[in-house]
């Protein structure tokens, strides 16, 4: 490979130079090339040349057909004339080695007949250009056969272009049709190059794969970095939207982004309204809350020891009819402390409030019916709780020690 590379470069250089010089020099060097070509063709013929020639002839036929379709009346015969002549000469010039190409480009009989009318010069031209190419390749590409295939193809097409243009020069009558041919072949060229570039791009993304996000462009999608980034962004957004769709109840059935957004808006607004309503509710109860807040800290702390009550075996939510009635949506959640507080049936804590609103120093009576088994847990949690949180509550400091002491008694009266 390392040896083949410089040769590849050389080959490319040659082709560029050659294409430039070709148009100027071809008339003088005709004979010379022909001779050299003959030598080359006798000397070494690689099967790849045959396939090349096959391709070439196929190309020409394709373009010819296109021209025929485009100009069914005008250019049909003439084009047939020129090209069939070219094919014939090429085929004959190559001798038995080009049998394949001849059969592939099998010209119509009419063309064959008329081919004789054309000047020899043109035939020579066509022959010569194909010869020249072959001579070059025989010299340079022998070693790097597989490697240079892509470039060779391009070169081939360029040469066909040249051939066509030369034919146009020779035959001013067929200019329109040959232009058409040129367009065809050039469009093919473009396609080829675009395919090449896409290949390159895919290679690049493959190289980048371990470092960055792996992006795969499907067939026909753009592969430049901007559109790739945009696609990644869109995918991410749609992923998130899917997640949002799962989050919002009843959004799964809706197709279309607008409907989904509608549903999300409705949901968020309903939640906000719910909050408003609940705050209204709380505001209505508000004056009485005043004195209970400390109790709620207690309850909140109790929520910490909720796990110890799992020994009771009954899930508190399910046994509580009040909760089920009020929030059917949130059955699965346990917010522990509160549930216990308002559950009269089986749970350990019962509280009654007899608080007149105006007086700050009223008594809130709370009865704790604690099971003997769980009383130990209560001790720990309450003591830790009151030492930490309760100081920010009211001035009347809670006698935590007496509370923990009393908790061991099953029935106690708490004074706040």
């Amino acid at each position: 490979m390392s040896r083949a590379l410089p040769e590849m470069l050389q080959c490319a250089d040659l082709t560029v130079l050659e294409r430039k010089g070709e148009r100027m020099k071809w008339q003088q060097q005709q004979q010379q090339y022909q001779q050299s070509y003959l030598q080359e063709s006798q000397m070494s013929f690689i099967p790849s040349f045959q396939t090349e020639m096959l391709e070439l002839s196929m190309m020409q036929e394709m373009s010819k057909n296109g021209a025929e379709n485009g100009w069914p009346d005008l250019g049909k015969y003439q084009i047939n004339d020129t090209e069939s002549a070219a094919y014939l000469t090429a085929g004959f010039g190559a001798g038995e080695d080009y049998g394949i190409s001849r059969t592939a480009s099998c010209p119509p009989v009419v063309g064959e007949e008329k081919g004789g009318d054309f000047p020899v010069l043109e035939k020579m031209v066509v022959k010569e250009s194909s010869k020249k190419r072959r001579a070059d390749k025989a010299a340079t590409c022998l070693k790097a056969n597989d490697v240079v295939e892509g470039t060779r193809d391009k070169r081939l097409k360029g040469d066909t272009n040249e051939e066509e243009s030369k034919a146009a020069e020779q035959n001013p009558t067929t200019t329109t049709t040959t232009n058409n041919n040129n367009n065809n072949s050039s469009s093919i060229n473009n396609r080829e190059t675009s395919a090449d570039s896409s290949k390159e791009n895919s290679k690049v993304s493959d190289v980048q794969k371990p470092d960055y996000i792996h992006v795969r462009a499907r067939r026909g999608q753009a592969t430049d970095s901007h559109s790739l980034a945009e696609r990644v962004r869109r995918e991410k957004i749609s992923e998130r939207m899917k997640f949002l769709q799962d989050l919002v109840p009843g959004c799964n059935k809706i197709t279309g982004k607008a409907g989904m957004l509608d549903e999300i808006i409705n949901y968020v607004q309903s939640l906000q309204r719910q909050v408003e309503f609940l705050s209204m509710k709380l505001a209505a109860v508000n004056p009485r809350i005043d004195f209970n807040i400390d109790n709620f800290f207690l309850k909140e702390m109790l929520s910490g020891c909720n796990g110890s009550y799992s020994t009771l075996g009954v899930s508190q939510e399910l046994t509580n009819p009040v909760l089920l009635q009020f929030n059917p949506m949130h059955q699965g959640v346990t917010c522990s402390g509160m549930d216990m507080a308002i559950n009269p049936s089986d749970i350990t804590l019962r509280r009654t409030t007899s608080a007149p609103l105006s007086l700050p120093d009223t008594f809130v009576d709370s009865y704790f019916h604690a099971n003997g088994s769980s009383s130990n847990n209560w001790d720990i949690d309450l003591s830790t709780l009151y030492s930490g949180d309760f100081q920010q509550g009211r001035q009347s400091v809670f006698p935590s020690q007496s509370l923990t002491g009393n908790l061991e008694v099953n029935n106690l009266k708490m004074e706040m």
């Binding site: 998130r240 957004l261 939640l271 909050v275 609940l278 709380l282 949130h330």
Partner: protein, 186 residues
């Protein structure tokens, strides 16, 4: 897909602090005022419980715009958190100014375009759909606090986060209300 219990607990704690604060501050007020105060305190409590999100910052910023609420915000958040919030908020405020001027220019240009477009033309269906989408997403951005300043991608993230915490908020408040009602019923 539920918010964690610890989140709910912190929210409840802050919320109760806020309620206490409002009760101490205003003894004889109308129901609506009290409702607003409670809603505000619940929002701020939610914001402080969910620290770090854009929407919570926006809530705190909106709340502390008014002088009378500043004390409440300070009490609920605490000094350290408030510092952090205000720091971020100051950074964001310059951004809002810029956005507003941009919006003004944009509105003007849009007006011009609208005038130009008055000529009766058939509008493509895709254009209509696009406009509807734009309207919806704009509306959603208004619904989520602080959504106006976000780009689309982070906005969706924020919306998900906001919905989670709203659910938690509703849940906790419902329980609280139930508990109070039960207490009163006894």
């Amino acid at each position: 897909m539920q918010a964690s219990n610890s989140f709910k607990r912190t929210f409840l704690k802050k919320f109760l602090v806020g309620i206490q604060q409002t009760n101490l501050a205003s003894k004889n007020t109308s129901l609506f005022e009290r409702r607003n105060a409670i809603k505000l305190s619940s929002d701020i409590a939610l914001a402080s419980a969910r620290d770090g999100a854009n929407w919570s910052r926006a809530i705190v910023a909106n709340a502390s715009k008014q002088e009378k609420n500043k004390n409440l915000v300070k009490n609920i958040l605490g000094e350290v958190q408030l510092d952090r919030f205000t720091k971020l908020q100051n950074k964001g405020s310059s951004l809002t100014c810029k956005r507003e001027t941009c919006k003004r220019i944009l509105r003007r240009s849009r007006l011009e375009r609208r005038i130009r477009k008055r000529s009766p033309k058939r509008v493509a269906g895709s254009a209509v759909a696009k406009r509807i989408m734009k309207k919806r997403s704009h509306f959603l951005k208004c619904v989520v606090p602080g959504g106006e300043l976000m780009d689309e991608f982070s906005f969706i993230d924020e919306t998900i986060d906001y919905i989670f915490s709203l659910r938690a908020q509703v849940d906790v408040m419902q329980r609280l209300a139930n508990a109070f009602e039960h207490c009163i019923g006894k």
